[in-house]
Every structure is written in C-alpha cells, then in structure tokens.
C-alpha cells in the first residue's frame, strides 16, 4: 500500500491530520501538473481538468489499488484544487491582456481571453450558488472544474447518474442565467 493510500484510508476513518497531509500532497502534485498544463495555454490549448486530475491521481496512487471511498474523496479534493488553479490562472490571464498579434491558429480564432472571463464569472456565480445550495454547487465544481463525468460525479456524491444529470441541468440553467446577467435575487 502506498503512503497516499494509507493517508486516504486514515482520513476516511476520521483522522484529520491525515486529511491535512493528503491535501498538502495533492496540492503539490496537482499544482505542478496544473502549472505545466497552464503553460500549455500559451499554445492556446484548452485547459484539461479531466486529464489533469486523472494524471495526478495516477501519479499519487494508481487507480486500481485504492479503496472506492478514498477515490471519491480524492476526486472531490482534486476538483477543489483545480478550481483554485483555474480561477487563479484566469485572473492572471485577464490581468495581462495579450498584445494585438495575429491570434488565429489552425485550432481556431483565439477565444482564450473570453474563456478566462467566463471562468471568473462562473466562479462568482458558483460562490453565490454555494450560499444557497451547497450540494448543487459541489456537483458543479466536480463536473466543471474537476472534469468528472456524470458517472464519476455520481460516485463521489454517492447518488445515481440520473439524479446527477437532473441536478446538473437545473444548476447549469441557474448559473447560465446568473452569468448572462439575467439573474435577479429571486432567481
């Protein structure tokens, strides 16, 4: 059993110190990978939370050697870390707006600055959702920032794929409204 697996199991059985230790590890590992992927943004590539989280996960433990519950905890944690990195990156990105060189690549016209703005807007809307409805907010965090599939999300939240789909659709609608600026306090 790897050290991380052991930590996860200890955390699972309520050991707060283990939780701290594992967060530290995950931060370090994910941070390194995230930085590299974000560096890839220079080449105008989309952020790839899925690949990121999975790669970190593989690195840390090895997917088949881990208890189911530990995996869920891990994915949830990774999604949170990713969110922080992505939002941070989006802020920095918006801060240093690119110059006016030709921004057309074979992959398309550069839409990245808009994406950064979108991420920040989503993050804000998500913070508002978390105040009203923390469960749905967590679901969105897992799906969007963690890049988890419906099935993986269901696994983490310990519910059915159908329930996740339904909840996701509703939360997405609400966030969409907020981000379009159409959301009012009663929405």
């Amino acid at each position: 059993m790897s050290e991380v697996t052991e930590l996860l199991q200890r955390w699972n059985s309520g050991d707060a110190a283990a939780r701290e230790a594992i967060i530290e590890r995950i931060y370090g590992e994910l941070g390194g990978i995230a930085r590299r992927y974000l560096a890839d943004e220079r080449a105008n590539v989309d952020l790839q939370p899925t690949a990121l989280v999975h790669e970190a996960y593989m690195r840390l433990i090895g997917i088949d050697r881990i208890e189911w519950q530990g995996r869920s905890h891990f994915l949830a944690m990774a999604a949170r870390v990713m969110r922080e990195y992505l939002v941070d990156a989006a802020r920095r990105r918006n801060a240093r707006k690119r110059d006016g060189g030709i921004q057309v690549t074979l992959a398309g016209v550069d839409g990245a600055p808009d994406q950064a703005t979108e991420i920040l807007a989503l993050n804000e809307a998500l913070e508002r959702l978390a105040e009203a409805d923390p469960d749905r907010a967590l679901l969105v965090e897992l799906r969007f920032f963690g890049g988890l599939t419906i099935e993986e999300t269901a696994e983490v939240l310990d519910t059915s794929a159908t329930a996740v789909k339904r909840s996701w659709r509703v939360a997405r609608g609400w966030l969409y409204q907020q981000m379009q600026g159409g959301g009012s306090d009663d929405g």
Binding site: V45, D46, V104, L106
Partner: protein, 841 residues
Amino acid sequence: MTTDNRRTRDALDICERVLDAPESARAALIDEACGDDAELRAAVNSVLGAITSADAALGETVADSFTAEQLVGRTLGGCRLVELLGEGGMGAVYLGERETDEFTQRVAVKVVRTRFLSKTLLERFNAERQILAGLNHPYIAGLIDGGTDDGVPYLVMEYIDGQPIDAALDAARVDLPGRIEMLQKVALAVHAAHQNLVVHRDIKPSNVIVTDDGIPKLLDFGIARLMRAEDDPGDGNTTLFGAPAMTPDYASPEQLLDDAVTTVSDVYSLGVLAYQVLAGVRPYQVERSSQGRMAETVARLAIPLPSRRLGLDDARSKLDAIAQARATTPERLRRALAGDLDNILMKALAQRPADRYPSVSAFSADLGRFLEGQPVEARASSLAYRARRFVSRHKLAVGFSLALFLSLTVGLAATGWSYLNAESARRDAARQFNQVREIARTMMFDVFDDLERVPGTTTARQRLAGTAQQYLESLADESADPAVRLDAARGYARLYAILNRQAVGGTEDRERALEAWTRAADILESLAAAPEADAAVWLVRGQLLSDRGASLITVDNDPEAARGFLTDAFAAFDTAADRGGDSLALAESRLLAGERDAETYKWQQDYAGTQQAVAAVMEQSVAARKQWGDTAAILKIEGDALQLMGEARYFSEDFDGALEAYGTSIARYEQALKAGGEDSVISAALGVARWSRGNTYIDTERPEFAADDYAVAIDIVSVAVARDPADTSTARRLAILKGSRAMALVRMGDSEPAIALMLEVDDWFTSQARAEPDTPGAQRSLAVSHHMTGDIYHYAGEPQQACTWYRRTLDVWADIETRFGVSEFDAGQPDYVRELLANCD
C-alpha cells in the same frame, strides 16, 4: 440562510421535480409546490426559462453523458466511428468509415466534447471549421465535412495513413537532397496556411505525416495533438496518459515567452523540424522541470551548429544509425551540413523573430539555392565565419593568397576588426529592416488582396490591418531612406482605403482611417519637399489626395471639400507628369480622380455639371486607351463615369438618355471583366448598373426589361453574399434588389412569385430590425419594406392583405415617431400611409 437563498434552493428543487414530471403534469406541480407564494413561483418560472435557454445555447448533448469509448460504433454525419484514435480535453478523434457510391472511405472524425460553458469551445470549433474549409492544399490534411449531429459537433477530416516525417524519411533512407525537397513541400503547406492568415504554431514531426506514397501532410493543430497518442513516448513529448503536453522543444522563443506569435514563429518551428530531419537530432531539449522558468530557459538556449551537434552527446552507434538513415557516413554528413546548411538552419532558428527568414517561403527558397549550388542568403555571424567570408569574397578579385594575407591583417589589426564589425552590424540592421519592409508590403498588398477574395474574412482583414499598421510604424520611424518612406506612405494610404471601406458603421474605424491618412500625407509632404523628389512621390501624393476626396464624397457627404482635395490631386499628377512620370498608373489615377470629380457634382444635384465632367473624363479616357490599350482599370472607370452620366440624365428626366448611358456602362464593365479586371469589384459595379437601368425601366413602364436586369443583379450580388455572409451591407443590397424585382414582377402580372419574393425580403428586414431594435435606420427600413409589401399586394389585387401591411407599416412609423422622431425626409410618410388606410375597411 437568508430568505433569498432558501427561495433559490427551493426553486431549484421544484425545477428538478418539474423537469422530471411529464409535460402535462407540470403546471399542476408548480401550483401545488408554490401555493400562494408568488415570489417562489416567479423564481421557479425564471429558472425554468433559464434552463431552456441554457439547454439551447450549450446543447443537451449525447457527448455530455457518453464517454469517448461509448461513441465508438455510432454514426455521426454519415460516418461510422470505428475506433478511438485519441482523446483530449477538447474532444476525441476517431477513425471513421464513410460510405460513398463506390467505396468505403477512411476518415478521421473529430468530436468536440460539450460540457458546461461549451459556448466558447463551440465557437472555436466552428472557427476552426471555417478556417480549415478555406485551406485546400495537397499537403494539408483537408476538411471533408462538418456539422452537428444529434447535438454533437463534429469535423470529418482526411485520414492520413503514414508515419511522422522523421521516421518516414529514416525508414526510406532518404538522402539529404531528398530530405530538403520534402521539407520544401512542408514549407509550401505552411505557406498556404499563412496566406490564409493561419499560424500553425505546432509544427513538429508528429504533425507532419508522410504517406506511403511519400506525400507530406500537415495536420491541423487540434487533431494533431489528439492523434499523437501512439507516438513514441520516449521523445519527452508525451505525458503519462498519452495526452498531449506542451512541446517546448519545437516552440519558438516568443511562444515560450508568451509574446506575440506570428508567421515567423512557424519559421522557427519549421527550422527545428528541419534541423532534426537533416541532422538527426533536435537542436536542444527543454528540460521538463525548467518549464516554470521559461524566460531563463529561453535566454540560455544555445543552439549548436547542426554539423557540430552531431556526436555532441550521442554514442557512436547512434551517429552511425543517423548517417545510415541518410545513406551516408557520419563524416560525410557532417561535411554536407557544415557551411551553408548550418547557416540556413541557424538563420531560421534565430532567437529574435526579426533575425529569422521573414517567411517560410524565404526559408524554403534558401534551401532551394543550396540544392542548386547557388549562394545562399543566410550568413553566419561568428567571428571565424566572417573572416572566412572575407577571404572568399576577395578570392577572385585579389587572388587567394593575397586574400588570406588580407584576412590575417584584418585579424591582427584591432581597428580593422572594429571597422568590419561596424560594417556588418550596419548590414545586419539593413537586412533586418528589409525583412520588416517585406512583411509589411506582403501584408498590405498581397495578403490583403488575396483575403478579399476569401469568404468570411472581414474580421481577419481587420486584424491584418491592425498588424500591418504596427509594421508600418516601424518603417516610417526607423528609416530616413526615401524609398522606404515612400513604401510606408503607400502602406498608410492603403490602410486608409481599407479602413475607410470598413468604416461605414463605426466612428472608431473612421478615426483610425484618418490617422493613417495623415501619417501618409505627412510622410509624402516631407518627401515632396526635397527638390529631387521624383515622379513616384508626386503620383502617390496625388492618389492619396484623390482617395481622400472619394471618401469625403461617400462617407462624409461633403462634395465641396472633396473637390478641393481632387483639385490638389490634379496638381500633384501634373507635377508627376512634369517630372517624367508618364505612366499607365498616372493615366489611370488621373481618370479616376476625374470620375470622382464628376461625382461631386452629382452629390450636389448639379446634373448639368455632372454630365460635363463625365464628358471630360470620357475624352481623356479615349486618349488614354489609345496610348495604353483597353486595360481593365480604364474600362472600369469608364463604366463608373457612364453610370454617373446615366444617373444625371435620369434625374434630369431624360430617361432614354439614361438608358443609353447605363447600357454603355454595362458593356464597359463586361469588357473590363473580360480584360481580367478584379472580379468582385467590377461585378458589384455591374450589379449596380443593372439595378439602375432596371429602375429606369420601371419608371418608363417596361417592367419586363426591369425584371431581367434585376435578375442579373440578384445573381451577381448573391455570389457576393455567399462569399461573406457576415457582410450585412451586401445582404441588404440583395434584399433591396429582390424587392425591386418583386415590384417588377407584380407590374408584369406575375403576382404569385412577386408576393413570395417580397415576403422573403420583408422577413429579412424584420430580422434586421429585431436584431437592432434601437437603431432608427433598421426600423425605418422595416417600415419601407412593409409599405412595399402592401403595395405589392395592392397591385396583385388583394386589398385586404394590402391593408394589413399598411397597418403594420403605420405601427412601425408610430413606434419610430415616439422613440426617435421621424426625420425630415420621411415627414410625410406616416400621413401618407394613413391616407392609404382610409380606403381600407
């Protein structure tokens, strides 16, 4: 938890239940759940509405809930997905099979993964599709099809079965000349992309696949990175999952540093590729761990000469293998690389973009010179090389031994060296400067002209104009050389014309346009001040003044001021002629200014003056055609002038005279097209001439002739609309033409097609008015369109329908009256419609 928060949460819960319930039960469910809580009910309805919009905007897609593997076996856009080739953040690529009549075609199908916030992704995906659709090149993997199937956006691409260029060449044991030829083909593909304003940004062996027939195919960025899952993991470019990681080993310094990436960045990456393909080793490897500190890494990048790189840190066995794959020995390979190839590759790999070849074609051309044994453009800058070059330069002139001797003295005498250094620094600066100049020129003239013929490039043109301006800035500032400054002035003049054409709507563009004009005028004034200023300066100056006159007429509607500029233009042309500048360009420019001068009279409604001015232009034109022949440009100007003549006569109510002038104008345009004139521009003018003649036929009660003229004009303008659907002014022209034809048809008695056509036109104006609810112009157009629809029903003998449309017309006018006020020009309109309505029930 606050009340608001609780309500939000309750609303979301209720929405979930509502969406889960069958359509019929939903209303009751909302009633039951909300009771008499009106705010909650409003919240639920608002969220339900948002969910519908979100679903519509972002798509409730299959891909969302299917994993990449699960799509295998499905059919998208007529392609069966056979096998997953690769997967990435943006989507997945499949090997697909596509049934055609005779055989099954293998294709690559790229599917975009739509998730939350996928709108940006979708836009990019569509942009990629549009760009690829414009990139037809034998050495670029082409786009076959694309679209959305069952909510899943996909691209169908040519499937390339082959190996990455380095492996393919090694396997076939291709020698250096063969490799260079292959690289030149790749350069052609990259050049084609550049001509379409596309910077590849990820040129590397795995993106250049060579088929078994030896044909290189440049893969598209997205696909390429997705397809590289099966690549050699040992080259440090693949992550644990085979997912793409950054490939800093091929990226240009500016890419690594997040600076502006241009076509010259592709020159660099192509340089790395060439280095690897020729020398067998990459120039360097960027260490993974150093990627956080790009700036340092880049600064430290030291690229060894290709001939020296061999065996630098490789085992003898590897060296032998490299040489063998090139059908030679290590020694010979080293010698073949040393010298010109070293220089060519080092020039492509220069740290600073300005030190590189200005374009991939220049890079390729130098490789070609090497193959043909001609002197190459690239020169090394090392001390040793300079001395060598010094020797070889003097070899013929002074004899070899003396040259050697000279080189020794140069080497010994400090003053001599510094002189040589200064001299070479000056040459380098000049070369670099010429490159900038070449780029600016290419951008402003060649690329822009190409772009005008490429569909959907309005935005690209705007970007290009911006970029070109930056280059021009450096031209105008950095040099005192009159020839270069004249070039810069030409560039600014061109930019002015471009911006003005785009300026119809935006004041921002107009200000930028005027800035460009002023820059050009300033440069030309200082150039013209020199007593020895030649005819070229005065010609450009005249053209610039004439262009300003033209836009004062059409954009600013100030014919008086325009005439002032045109008078100055004539004076400048006279000076040019005095200084020996008798040329076709001068003749054409003068005619054009004359035609514009005639136009100023028309805008002042001085129709006699217009006719006089046109007559003068026609007289000069006859002389010009005698001297220079029937050029497309002259014929086009004659066509324009005759059209003015037609209008002047029309407004003087000389309809037969107008018809005759329009007829001749149409004939001139057709001749111009045959003489190879610029298609789109002349066609547009031809469309206008046909339209004008059609209008005249309507007024002289000959609708059947009018309908024919309109039909031809509609065909012409439809082509232009298809070319650039984003260009609403052309689409508007098309709608107007169709409305005119509908009127002609109904007057001929063809009521049914007339009504159908008019309703189509009215739909278009309605959608425009909806898109711009707060623009008075769009609302006014809607009123006019409704009115015309009413008229057409009236002529068709359907008074009921006519009344309905007149009522709609009045509604629009009423809306305009309350919101914006009716302009003086339209003052009588609402009352007129009321009068018409008085006859209705």
